[in-house]
Amino acid sequence: MLDLQGYGPRLIEGAGVTLSLALLSLLLAIVLGLLTASAKMSRNWLLHKFATLYTTVIRGVPDLVLMMLLFFGGQMALNVATDALYDRFGVDWYINLNAFAAGVITIGFIFGAYMGETFRGAFLAVDEGQIEAGRAYGMSDWLVFRRIRFPLMMRHALPGLSNNWMVLLKTTALVSVIGLSDMVRVAAEASRATHEPFVFLIPVALIYLAIASVSELIFARLQKRYNVGFGGH
């Protein structure tokens, strides 16, 4: 039988951290991705340039480097800001950047760039005639977005979205490096302490595989749902 030498509860906690981190970052990434896609398609020159800079730089630099920059640099920027507050106004306020929040913000920020590209392509694939039909029915802009543009866009975005989610899930492992106790960190600590790496690392690998497999099933169902009326596939 698998002997986890008392690390069992911490590993389960770590799995919870991994999963909630992944889901919250996904949410943030989707919001940022929609904003980026809109900015890229907007006629505003500055917005367009800014979004292009964001997606290019983020996709050109390793996740780990960005994570360290935002985590270590973010704390320093916060310190400078709070010090200035104290000097100017005598406000004694110290913010300690929480590792979990930093993780969610960083991963969400990174994958927002990838999602932006996915959503942009998907929005462009939506037939303009459908939008015009919606307008002709007297729907407001928001109603057209909610009932027509978004569902049609999702059909094209889902394959890319599912791909991004799989990569995002694996990227969460990197937060163990900046000090967050996700399941990878717990397993690595336990391996070093007990000198039994396989006992801890292999179950963690299996949990990742399990989450990936369940996600595949969910995405397959979503794909079916969004493809209703388009026949097959």
Binding site: V57, R59, G60, V61, P62, D63, L64, V65, L66, M68, L69, F72, G73, M76, M166, K170, T171, T172, A173, L174, S176, V177, V184, A187, A188, S191, R192, P197, F198, L201, I202, V204, A205, Y208, L209, A212, S213
Partner: protein, 240 residues
């Protein structure tokens, strides 16, 4: 040397970017390049037979390869690196073997982990390209009396390589970015150098922004190299 005086003038008064720290970054660049290049090369060599096997009609050949690619693509590279880095000591008899002086250093376990990882992704890329070969080409080869092996070598693989090129370019960039993980197992690659400079001077912006700029340049270099290759090799597929 003119370059040295120019560099000394440029760095004069800069507390962080001294010739010494730039030396760390340079060594890091060398380590990162070696790691990425060697793992990509070994991964490519492994991936070709694996992709052929993965496209085989015999399940007892294709299924084990599918399990391998599924596991390596479905788990984080960091976990794979940890398993190999911490686990290599426990392989029976390895400490008596001639490989031990190599495996004791962090470089080789990292190289093995990266190779196995990129081989898994590359196998799937090539399999997709092999499957997309048009039936007509294969039938034409058959009609010429080519054997299976000859068809594979002369017809399927050359066109599959070309089709795989854009996806493989992405994999190369992915590998460059993934190699930053090597710094976690004490390797002084580019990211390792940045972490060292950060810890020494407590200067996160300088240390990490500088290294991010280097990675960005490398990414663009790879991107343009593959664009150039695609232009050369896929010229016949361009719409007239």
């Amino acid at each position: 040397m003119e370059l040295t005086t120019w560099l000394t003038d440029l760095l004069d008064g800069n507390l962080i970017f001294t010739p010494q720290t730039l030396g760390y970054y340079w060594d890091g660049l060398v380590t990162t390049s070696q790691l990425v290049f060697l793992s990509l090369l070994a991964g490519l060599v492994l991936a070709i037979p694996l992709a052929i096997g993965r496209s085989s009609r015999h399940r007892w050949i294709s299924l084990p390869i599918y399990v391998y690619t599924y596991v390596f693509r479905g788990t984080p590279l960091l976990i794979q690196l940890y398993i190999i880095y911490y686990g290599v000591v426990f392989v029976d008899g390895i400490q008596e073997s001639i490989f031990w002086p190599l495996l004791r250093e962090a470089f080789y376990p990292a190289l093995i982990a990266f190779t196995l990882n990129t081989a898994a992704y590359t196998t799937e890329i090539f399999r997709g390209a092999i499957k997309a070969t048009s039936r007509g080409e294969i039938e034409a080869a058959r009609a010429y009396g080519m054997s299976n092996a000859l068809t594979m070598r002369r017809i399927v693989l050359p066109s599959a390589f070309r089709r795989a090129l854009p996806a493989y370019g992405n994999e190369v960039i992915f590998m460059l970015h993934a190699s930053a993980i090597a710094s976690v197992v004490t390797l002084m690659d580019l990211t390792g150098a940045a972490r060292f400079v950060y810890a020494r001077f407590y200067a996160p912006f300088e240390a990490f922004l500088f290294v991010a700029a280097i990675y960005l340049c490398l990414t663009f270099a790879i991107l343009y190299f593959f664009r150039f290759l695609e232009k050369r090799l896929l010229a016949h597929l361009k719409p007239a």
